[in-house]
């Protein structure tokens, strides 16, 4: 019954989305004015029903109802509860339902909370959101029904991909999805504003918290995903320029550009058409990303459910949405009046450079991701890897960071170069100090890590500059947010630079009792023992790492998941990590090797990764900064409302 109820809820929600779209359209075309009253409640109801359907899918996974195809293929009754729940979105159909749920809930939240927009713009926005939902409902119901029953229920399910059986999976995809799909709100706002031609500070201020909100989740999701890859895949890398990583980075870059340009529109009423276009691009890139992953166009670790038929469906949806929005943009943007003027050396000027750099990086990453497809069309096979991305994105990112040093210290409209220089001596000094120390003590370092750490030094100091000489308790929250986020960039940059410059690696075949030296640690390999987990067996190694008198026990595992219901067995590596203030010791237990002397040896891979955890700390700080900023904007909203209420009251006196 649960599965049938879920499917019924999906159909009803789809009907509501249709109703909301039709009512909104008729209203906007000058028909029945009362129809506007229909749009808000249908948006809310549609969101609630979709969320309920998703809850029912989770219930099916929790109850291990193997008569449902999706559960049988992706779950197993022996799985720990956390992974049963996470299994609901660890597959194509479930994750598309999660996508729709977030789409629906975002629409509902806009319908409930958005009070600042003009009525007709809000209706247009909600109608656009309903149109997005409707297409994805069609996709889900017609080509990826998660509630499909099997004619005969198997005795048990095939289990979830063991690589995905990690607490990280429980949080990484939903977080990323909230960010991905949250950008749909900005998209709908842009379409709504283009339809009613309300593009100005009020529209920008209304859109701003939504952009910030989804960007926070994108940041957290990417950071969590990077950490998951780092410890679960056992390669010890934190970014691989994998196509799927790239397609999550692209909307993040668009979001970063958008939240800076929307600030200009909100504060200075400039860059209006540009802001609208970025809002369209952001969610468009989310959709392109989903399409690339789901159609099997590019293969990667993430490509479950590779299916050209679904790919065609998604392509058609995207063509309608992105094509429609961009056509609307092309037709309308020409009529958007030019915004306020400003000098190049001004806050606006620096934000324009920020936007140009961010969009250039975006374009280059997109080009690198799609180039293999284009090259193959021309008869050549090419894969684009880290050397390309590091070369093109690295230097641009560093320039971007330098602009970030200056931007927050500049005044709006027009500023004086000499005054700017006077605000910077501490930051320049910090950068020079880092550079000198690295050159003297650092040994041979690549140019990019060297510059990276230097720029990190400059940014770290300069990002705090907006707080100097201010009453910290009176400093508005958005300023705090900006300072913390920019400081987070410096922290992450320092981590990336230090990790790639000073990493130490040892690969050994060790017998129990052997000692391995890596970067000041003496690591004693005690031996291995078999252990059993809830649904796997493992070989667990015990190592004791000693440095300066203190010793720590490390237990890396090599796990073997049995093949369930005819699937192949899988092995995964659980790395053991020792986190110290100066970095992380990363140990992977590999295959047993028989040595010439007959002793049982194991492959051990040890890394010392200096400051590596700063990368994720930086990511977390960026998200925290954005969150403070968003809170601040919400507070501004309440203050502004209170003031308006007061004014209204005064008028009546």
């Amino acid at each position: 019954m649960i599965a049938e109820l879920g499917l019924a809820l999906l159909w009803i929600a789809a009907a509501l989305a249709c109703l909301s779209l039709v009512a909104g359209t008729i209203y906007l075309r000058g028909g029945q004015k009362d129809l506007a009253a229909l749009v808000r409640p249908t948006s809310v109801a549609q969101g609630v029903l979709t969320a309920l359907a998703f809850a029912l899918l989770i219930a099916l996974f929790v109850r291990s109802d193997m008569s449902v195809e999706l559960v049988a293929r992706n779950s197993n009754s022996l799985k720990p509860m956390l992974f049963k729940v996470a299994g609901a979105w660890g597959n194509h159909e479930g994750s598309m339902l999660l996508w729709l749920t977030i789409l629906g809930i975002s629409g509902a939240l806009v319908a409930i909370f958005e009070k600042r927009l003009r009525e007709d713009t809000l209706i247009a926005t909600l109608a656009a959101q309903a149109a997005l939902s409707l297409g994805f409902f069609a996709f889900l119901i017609f080509s990826s029904n998660p509630f499909k029953r099997l004619p005969v229920a198997p005795p048990d399910g095939q289990g979830l991909n063991p690589l995905l059986q990690d607490p990280g999976l429980a949080f990484h995809p939903p977080t990323l999805y909230v960010g991905y799909v949250g950008l749909s709100v900005a998209f709908s706002f842009a379409v709504g504003a283009l339809i009613t031609r309300e593009i100005g500070p009020a529209f920008a201020r209304a859109m701003r918290p939504w952009v910030l909100g989804s960007w926070i989740f994108l940041t957290l999701g990417i950071t969590a995903g990077s950490y998951w890859a780092y410890y679960e895949l056992g390669w010890g890398g934190w970014w691989f320029w994998d196509p799927v990583e790239n397609v999550s980075l692209i909307p993040w870059l668009a979001g970063a550009a958008l939240l800076h340009s929307v600030a200009v529109t909100a504060t200075r009423n400039a860059l209006r058409a540009w802001t609208v276009m970025l809002a369209v691009i952001g969610f468009s890139m989310s959709m392109v990303g989903t399409f690339i992953v789901r159609s099997g166009l590019l293969t990667s670790v993430h490509s479950f459910a590779v299916d050209p038929e679904r790919g065609t469906f998604l392509l058609a949806l995207m063509a309608i949405y992105i094509g429609g929005a961009l056509t609307l943009f092309a037709l309308r943007a020409g009529t958007v009046a030019e915004g306020k003027k400003f000098a190049l050396l001004s806050r606006e000027g620096s934000l324009v450079i920020n936007n140009l750099l961010l969009t250039t990086i975006l374009a280059l990453v997109l080009l690198g991701t799609l180039y293999p497809i284009v090259a193959e069309a021309l008869g050549e096979k090419i894969s684009v890897g880290p050397p390309y991305y590091n070369k093109v994105a690295g230097p641009l990112a560093l320039i971007l960071c330098l602009v970030m040093v200056a931007g927050p210290l500049l005044a709006w409209r027009k500023d004086d170069g000499q005054k700017l220089w006077a605000r910077l001596p501490m930051a320049v000094f910090a950068g020079a100090l880092v550079l000198v120390l690295l050159v003297i003590f650092g040994g041979r370092i690549g140019i990019l890590p060297l510059l990276g750490m230097t720029v990190a030094g400059v940014v770290a100091v300069a990002s705090l500059a907006p707080l100097w000489g201010r009453n910290l308790r009176r400093t508005p929250l958005p300023t705090w947010g900006m300072v913390i986020a920019h400081f987070g960039v410096a922290v992450a940059l320092a981590g990336m630079g230090a990790e790639s410059a000073f990493i130490k690696e040892r690969l050994v075949a060790a017998a129990p009792g052997d000692t391995i030296k890596v970067a000041g640690y003496e690591v004693l390999f005690k031996g291995v023992r078999p252990v059993a987990g809830p649904n796997y067996t493992a070989i667990e190694g015990t190592l004791i790492a000693t440095s300066g008198g203190a010793s720590h026990v490390l237990k890396p595992e090599s796990r073997m998941f049995p093949g369930l219901m005819g699937t192949a067995p899988t092995e995964t590596n659980e790395a053991a990590l020792l986190t110290r203030p100066g970095g992380q010791l990363y140990v992977v237990l590999g295959q047993p090797v028989a040595g010439a002397d007959g002793a049982d040896r194991y492959q051990l891979r040890l890394w010392w990764k200096p400051l590596v955890w700063w990368i994720w700390l930086g990511g977390a700080l960026i998200a925290l900064g954005a969150a403070l900023s968003m809170l601040g904007r919400a507070q501004l909203l309440t203050l502004w409302r209170a003031r308006r209420a007061r004014k209204d009251r005064d008028r009546w006196k």
């Binding site: 065609t312 094509g323 056509t327 609307l328 092309a330 037709l331 020409g334 799609l370 284009v374």
Partner: protein
């Protein structure tokens, strides 16, 4: 045309049609409100044009799916140079110069630890019985294991080189085991078969090697 292809083109047509309809509707709405077409700025159509190009590439790729097997770049080129020691006692090692003795032959990349390689053994025996010289390259293997493997499944190989570090395998552009290379009499790689040779492929392989003579 197969049903699948026909369905694909039907969908493609529907999709292009819907794009046109949406574009036209947007245009109509716009013109009605403005009382005529907008003062167009062609630059504003640039994002749309870029999107069109991008989607063109997507449609192309969906129609012509990429190859899932990676073929060696060495096809129609001479064997890379190598000189491998014997993989086990009693069977000679393998040198690349030995592969150009005028007789077309097979080079089979295998390993004792590879289960599909066991499944392939009868087909190799059949090819051997048809008078085709077969050489082997044992990947990441130990002499004792190779001996046991040959003992269990039979030995179709004239020579077996031991490639402990997979270096020759990588040089050959082979992506796994088992893999079989068809070499003509001059030591030039003509074809690559990835995975197990199937029963029904045996006659075809014999015919191809005949043709190389």
């Amino acid at each position: 045309m197969t049903d699948r292809e026909i369905m694909f083109f039907v969908k493609l047509a529907l999709f292009l049609l819907s794009v046109c309809v949406v574009g036209y509707l947007a245009y109509r709405v716009q013109s009605r409100r403005d009382g005529g077409p907008a003062k167009g700025n062609l630059v504003l159509f640039a994002p749309l044009a870029i999107m069109g190009l991008l989607f063109g590439a997507f449609v192309y790729r969906l129609t012509v799916p990429g190859e899932t097997l990676i073929q060696s770049q060495w096809i129609n080129k001479p064997m890379p140079l190598f000189d491998l020691p014997p993989a086990t006692a009693g069977v000679e090692g393998l040198k690349s110069s030995q592969l150009a003795d005028g007789r077309p032959r097979l080079v089979n990349v295998f390993a004792s630890w590879c289960i599909p390689c066991r499944a392939e053994a009868p087909q190799l025996e059949a090819l051997k019985a048809a008078g085709i010289p077969i050489d082997g390259i044992a990947i990441r293997d130990r002499p004792d294991d190779v001996a046991q493997f040959l003992n269990e499944v039979g030995n179709p190989f004239d020579r077996i080189g031991s490639d402990v570090q997979s270096s020759v395998q990588i040089a050959l552009g082979s992506s796994g085991v088992p893999e079989t290379f068809l070499i003509d009499g001059k030591g030039i790689i003509r074809e690559q078969i990835q995975g197990v040779i199937l029963q029904e492929q045996v006659p075809e392989i014999i015919a191809r090697l005949e043709a190389m003579k």
